[in-house]
Amino acid sequence: MRRYAVQRLGYGVVTMWLVTLCVFALLRVSGDPIKYMLPPEASFSDIERMRRVHGLDKPLWQQYLLFNKGIVTGEFGVSLRWDHRPAFEVFLSRLPATLQLTTAAVVFSVLLGVPLGVLAATRPNSLWDRLGRTGAVIGQSMPVFWVGLLLILLFTVWLGWLPSAGGIDRLGLAGLIMPAVSLGFYLVAAHMRIVRSTMLDALSAPYIVMVQAKGIPRRVVLWKHALKNAAIPVFTLFAVNFAQLISGAVITESIFAWPGMGRLLVESVFARDYAVVQTVVFFAAAMIVILNIVVDLTYAWLDPRIRLG
């Protein structure tokens, strides 16, 4: 098990290095940040001056060495467009909002998707099952921005129940409801579908027949024995979705003016703010790699065949 863990960590480190290398190269290939940053009225002398001031006149290899040195020493550079604050500070200022939204969306999707999936699996081809499957298709087909705007129209404009612009620090927990539902709506469908399919497999397995033959109540059979064994793919999906959303939910954040990392990343990409883009991508990648390692190790712990294989 230890060897397996070390191997996974090694892969993780290599992945991280490749990610940083790609980001560094792609940003430089996509153009001179100073030209992109300055307004149309900037003169050639302005461009030259700003390039020098921000150290972008240095050769690429020097910039790359500085970038790597920064990662090792925890200095991720200074942002070009965010008050010239340290990029790491800019990233940290958006992290809480992203974690709040991501956690709420994923929890919402699990709390709704798993019971719906179980319900559909226990009554295959019933009205519940058909409704659930139809709902899943609709949920996975509706674009996030459309769901978001519908929610705003219904709960903000018509009913006046929920506020729609800002994070928890401005609106309190009420501000989290619509962004989380909007973002989690797609995931509800995904969770429901996978739970239904794995539960159908589990319910036809011999050990469930055995448990039922023992006369154990159906509720216990379903929620304790079947769901527990069907939960591994759900756990994977949960982890993958959480990791994906960590890097930001740009559309949801734009519609609800949510102060998360998605908007920060996109705006920094458009502004060619190297320091901020590199920092956000580095930490988002790190979180995804760490989550994947955790999932791998949990799998190996749950199912010894994986690490032996």
């Binding site: 030209k35 992109y36 003169s43 001056r49 612009a165």
Partner: protein, 548 residues
């Protein structure tokens, strides 16, 4: 008897009606009187505010938030005339510019705002205090402009320019599209960049209470604000919160639900059905000519500059008859009336309507829509079956309606056999690659220009050889530009500006399309927003009057 009773009823009715009328008048009058001197909060949702920086000496782009806590020398009143802010008087000559500063002006820590502060600001913006202050994004231009600064006394300053500079007041003093703001220089130097952004102290009507870069800013009224002009005084709202909400529909929802009092840049499709006067629900005000759109033929410039490929030398758009045909095939009025719901107006000028240099007779002489003549011109040019071409464009905050216009143009051109594909680019990339020698957006680009009050600044930016946001030029415009930019004599400037415009339009290097409005939306709480008719880039939100 009967008549007497009737007349008695009539008298009573008349009395009741008269009473009601008087009551209505009194209540209206008292309603007018009831406009409170102070209200608790004003909430504004905008699509963008420029850069995310508070330090006026390290701005990487314009940032209209600076208007509320830092200083400008001059501004515009409701009529659009230049008016005093920090400076009570300005005098522009060929040698330079003198300012008289308001002796009442103070910084928010109580220290007087003096000519020495102004001098230090210019030095800070041009990078004198690097590396702590990066210098302004256009500090290079400013350094090229100023030769010497003479502080005559605490309230008088003379800035000697390197050459006659007719645009100084427009570009650096704050008239209309201003580019810089003046901060509390002594404080900036004492606390440094980091100290300043964590606790900014300015001299404007508001203090910064809370700042979340890129998301929102909360201002708190400075109760001791020194400004006492009708256009620059202690604002009515004690707290002003400005939220950045990028999505247009989501912004409008804030207005509808009463979460915001003012919303900027409402999409035309939403704005079309809204009233333009205050009533029972959200209302709008179109700020005319906030943006200016033109199709620019890039290849004539590329040929002139000697960077055209062999294939490009045979492009149809190099033929003036083709360019004329393409213009005649566009129904500009229909685009403005139908695609933009009457919220834009067609133009035949390179300059913003109402600006210095704008000629109404030329600007309003819209090219006719004549597809038959266009087809004939194409036949004469050797393209009877038309051809295929590409139009490149970028979309900028506050310049709505571009995709709709391009859809319409593609349709018009298709009728004369020209198949056009519109290609969108990231706005920053569009600007960065527009300049020579690259001139990436060949053969045609849709250029969007922000409103400028002095058309000389537009020429500086776009219509001479070294323009940063380059559109078109000829040796003649170059010559005229040198004349216009070397004198503060307004008559000579006007003559040169007219010559530049005539020259470029005669060659049909550009097709001026339309002047675009910026639509501001207001809730019923808003009684008035006394700003100029033509859109200010920076919205004068401190002038808004609320009813409660």
């Amino acid at each position: 008897m009967g008549q007497a009773r009737l007349s008695s009823v009539g008298v009573r009715l008349a009395g009741v009606l008269g009473g009601l009328v008087v009551l209505a008048m009194v209540s209206q009058a008292s309603g007018q009187q009831a406009t409170p001197a102070s209200v608790a909060k004003l909430t504004v949702a905008v699509d963008g505010w420029g850069g995310n920086e508070l330090d006026p000496w390290s701005l990487s782009t314009v940032n209209f938030l600076q208007d509320y806590f830092n200083l400008r020398l001059m501004g515009q009143d409701e009529e659009g005339k230049p008016v005093p802010l920090w400076a009570t008087e300005a005098r522009l000559t060929d040698e330079g510019v003198s300012f008289t500063l308001n002796p009442k002006a103070r910084w928010q820590d109580g220290r007087p705002a003096t000519a020495e502060d102004l001098q230090l600001n210019f030095e800070g913006m041009t990078g004198k205090f690097e590396p702590q202050f990066k210098g302004l994004w256009n500090g290079g231009q400013l350094r090229d402009t100023i030769q010497e600064i003479q502080v005559l006394d605490p309230h008088h300053i003379f800035i000697k320019t390197t050459r006659p500079n007719p645009f100084f007041l427009s570009q650096w003093a704050g008239v209309a599209y201003h580019l810089i703001w003046y901060g509390h220089a002594q404080y900036l130097r004492a606390v440094g960049h980091e100290g300043y952004i964590n606790n900014p102290i300015g001299g404007g009507p508001y203090k910064v209470k809370e700042w979340k870069a890129g998301e929102r800013i909360v201002f708190e009224r400075w109760e001791e604000f020194w400004g006492d002009y009708p256009w620059y005084r202690k604002p009515q709202a004690k707290t002003m919160e400005i939220l950045r909400v990028p999505d247009g529909a989501a912004r409008f929802a804030l207005l509808q639900s009463g979460q915001a009092d003012v919303v900027s840049n409402i999409p035309y499709a939403i704005a079309k059905g809204l009233p333009r006067q205050r009533g029972r629900g959200p209302w709008i005000r179109p700020y005319e000519a906030a943006g200016h759109m033109a199709l620019t033929f890039v290849l004539p410039m590329v040929v002139l500059e000697g960077t055209a490929t062999e294939e490009e030398r045979h492009d149809p758009t190099l033929d003036p008859r083709v360019r004329e045909a393409l213009e005649l095939a566009i129904d500009k009025r229909a685009i403005c009336d139908k695609a933009h719901f009457g919220l834009t107006s067609p133009t035949n000028s390179l300059y913003s309507p109402g600006s210095f240099g704008w000629r109404a007779d030329l600007g309003n002489r819209i090219s006719p829509y004549d597809p038959e003549r266009a087809k004939q011109l194409l036949r004469e040019a050797g393209y009877p079956e038309g051809f295929t071409t590409t139009v490149h464009f970028g979309q900028f905050p506050g310049r709505p309606g571009i995709p709709e216009a391009l859809d319409a143009i593609a349709g018009y051109w298709a009728r004369i056999g020209v198949k056009m594909t519109a290609v969108e680019h990231d706005a920053a990339q569009f600007v960065a690659r527009v300049r020579p020698p690259e001139r990436a957006w060949r053969p045609i680009m849709l250029q969007t220009f922000g409103r400028l009050e002095h058309s000389g600044v537009r020429v500086n930016d776009s219509y001479h050889k070294d323009s940063p946001y380059s559109a078109a030029w000829t040796p003649r415009t170059q010559e005229l530009w040198l004349q216009a930019s070397a004198t503060t004599d307004e008559a000579k400037q006007l003559e040169a500006l007219a010559g530049i415009e005539d020259e470029l339009l005669q060659h049909r290097y550009l097709i001026p399309l339309y002047a675009a409005s910026l639509i501001m939306g207001y809730s019923t709480r808003v009684l008035a927003h006394p700003t100029p008719r033509f859109a200010p880039h920076f919205m004068d939100l401190d002038r808004i009057v609320l009813k409660d």
